[in-house]
């Protein structure tokens, strides 16, 4: 029977209360949101905590998708299913629906949250790649106020983020820029499994050429959440299969996958290449079709 080691359960009633509890209880305390990353880690004794602070009552305060003129704000307690079903996100960032359809499974998506996924920072987790592709920033709150950090600064590596012991991720902010679209593709062994390889891409166009593009990979090593070399290779170029192939080659070179029971390193590199091409092509197709992406064929799963 797998159960967590003993701990003290606390329940927070507000963001301020949660931060106050973190300050009072010290470094042996952790926030628990949906719990679908942390509880399995605790069952395996990979995370041993003295205090667990339940923040599910904060869903009212932190569960939202708010569209402003130049940015979209997503509350950290917004659940995967809410992201999947948000018409605002589908219209502006089709990458979210692409990714959320293949994150975990429908029952887990009822519970897991964007904040929990980002803070877990599992190397195979999809939303870090999504948020990096979209050039998102993260709002981290402490008792002394808020700081806003880029995804590059937020995500420090496997299981490591910029969030300190007495701090809390409260919101993700995504800039809205004209002429852009996005896509996500994941290959997994079965529904609900971790990715063999995933790729997210966002592209912005000015007329017939790409003004900016960002690609993030998941499950193929550290430091692949964003690959600047791909952005540099694509800027100012007209989209073509040849260009996407160049981006795919950079993705394959930039990652450092390991052979495991999900596939060989070579196979994962092949996937990084192929899925980079597919997601860039889908994002460009969506821009050119002028649609939200609901009708475009996504990168898809095999």
């Amino acid at each position: 029977m797998q159960v967590p080691a003993p701990f003290e359960y606390e329940r927070a009633t507000s963001v301020e209360d949660a931060i106050g509890l973190l300050e009072r209880l010290g470094s042996e305390a952790r926030l628990i949101a949906g719990g679908h990353s942390l509880l399995p880690m605790m069952k395996l004794r990979l995370a041993n905590l003295e205090y667990v602070i339940d923040i599910n009552d904060l869903h009212g305060e932190l569960g939202y998708v708010r569209v402003g003129t130049d940015e979209v704000r997503i509350g950290a307690m917004t659940r995967h299913r809410e992201l999947l079903e948000s018409p605002e996100l589908a219209a502006l960032f089709p990458i979210f629906a692409d990714a959320e359809q293949v994150i975990a499974d429908p029952v887990v998506r009822n519970r897991g949250t964007i904040g929990g996924s980002l803070c877990q920072a599992d190397p195979s987790e999809d939303l870090t790649a999504v948020c990096t592709a979209l050039d998102a920033s993260c709002v981290i709150r402490s008792s002394s106020g808020e700081r806003v950090v880029s995804m590059e600064d937020f995500h420090r590596g496997p299981y490591e983020t910029a969030v300190g012991d007495a701090e809390m991720l409260t919101e993700v902010r995504i800039p809205v820029r004209a002429g852009g679209s996005s896509a996500y593709a994941k290959v997994e062994r079965r529904a609900g499994d971790w990715a063999v390889t995933s790729v997210g891409a966002a592209v912005w166009m000015d007329g017939d050429s790409i003004s900016d593009a960002r690609v993030g990979l998941a499950a193929v090593g550290p430091n692949t959440t964003g690959i600047p070399a791909i952005s540099e290779a694509l800027r100012g170029q007209a989209p073509s299969d040849e260009l996407f192939a160049r981006a795919g080659a950079i993705a394959a070179q930039s990652c450092s996958p390991v052979s495991d029971n999900r596939g060989t390193a070579d196979y994962k590199r092949h996937l990084a290449d192929e899925l980079t091409r597919r997601t860039l092509r889908t994002a460009v197709d969506r821009i050119q079709a002028g649609i939200a992406g609901d009708d475009a064929t996504s990168g898809g799963n095999s």
Binding site: P4, Y9, H36, V52, D105, V107, R111, A191
Partner: protein
């Protein structure tokens, strides 16, 4: 710690350890063994119950988290001795097979039909995609859900017909 929650409409209070999982609370503290406990790892879905009306994997929810909330288990499907149509469907179409995954499948199926009374086969398969049947037989599970959808649709038509 003390936890109080509503399970199948009844308020229950127990003294528990903070680390107790909801599935063990239901089975060991309340004796509601209809909710099965399978993989321990949020994969198999046999432990699916409802929390505030939504299916969740009760092996990955702390019992304490359900404090102050409403839980519904497979025992809460039948009403006053009448089986829920999804239960009847599983009986009619051999959806049970060995029965191990059945409680979770029933809870997911009921939630699906509440949201989408006429789901396609693809929609049904997607809804149960986080739950594992090892009898090799999703076909009869899908058929059972379709049977329930058809029965409820016919019942609605009859109700409308008798009102006009």
């Amino acid at each position: 710690m003390q936890v109080t929650m509503t399970v199948n409409g009844e308020t229950v209070t127990r003294e528990i350890e903070g680390r107790m999982l909801l599935v063990h609370f239901l089975r060991d503290e309340l004796g509601l063994t209809g909710t099965h406990w399978g993989c321990d790892t949020s994969n198999c879905g046999t432990c699916v119950t409802w929390l505030d009306g939504e299916p969740v994997k009760s092996c990955t929810v702390l019992a304490a988290m359900a404090g102050g909330h409403e839980v519904r288990t497979v025992e809460g499907l039948e009403q006053e001795g009448v089986l829920d149509p999804v239960q009847e469907g599983f009986m009619q179409c051999h959806g049970l097979q060995c029965g191990f995954c059945t409680p979770g499948m029933l809870m997911t199926a009921r939630a699906l039909l509440d949201r989408d009374p006429d789901p396609s086969e693809d929609t049904i398969r997607e809804a149960i995609s986080g739950q594992i049947c090892r009898c090799t037989g999703y076909t009869t599970i899908v058929r059972s859900v379709q049977w329930a959808a058809n029965k409820e649709s016919a019942d609605r038509a009859e109700t409308v017909g008798s009102e006009s």
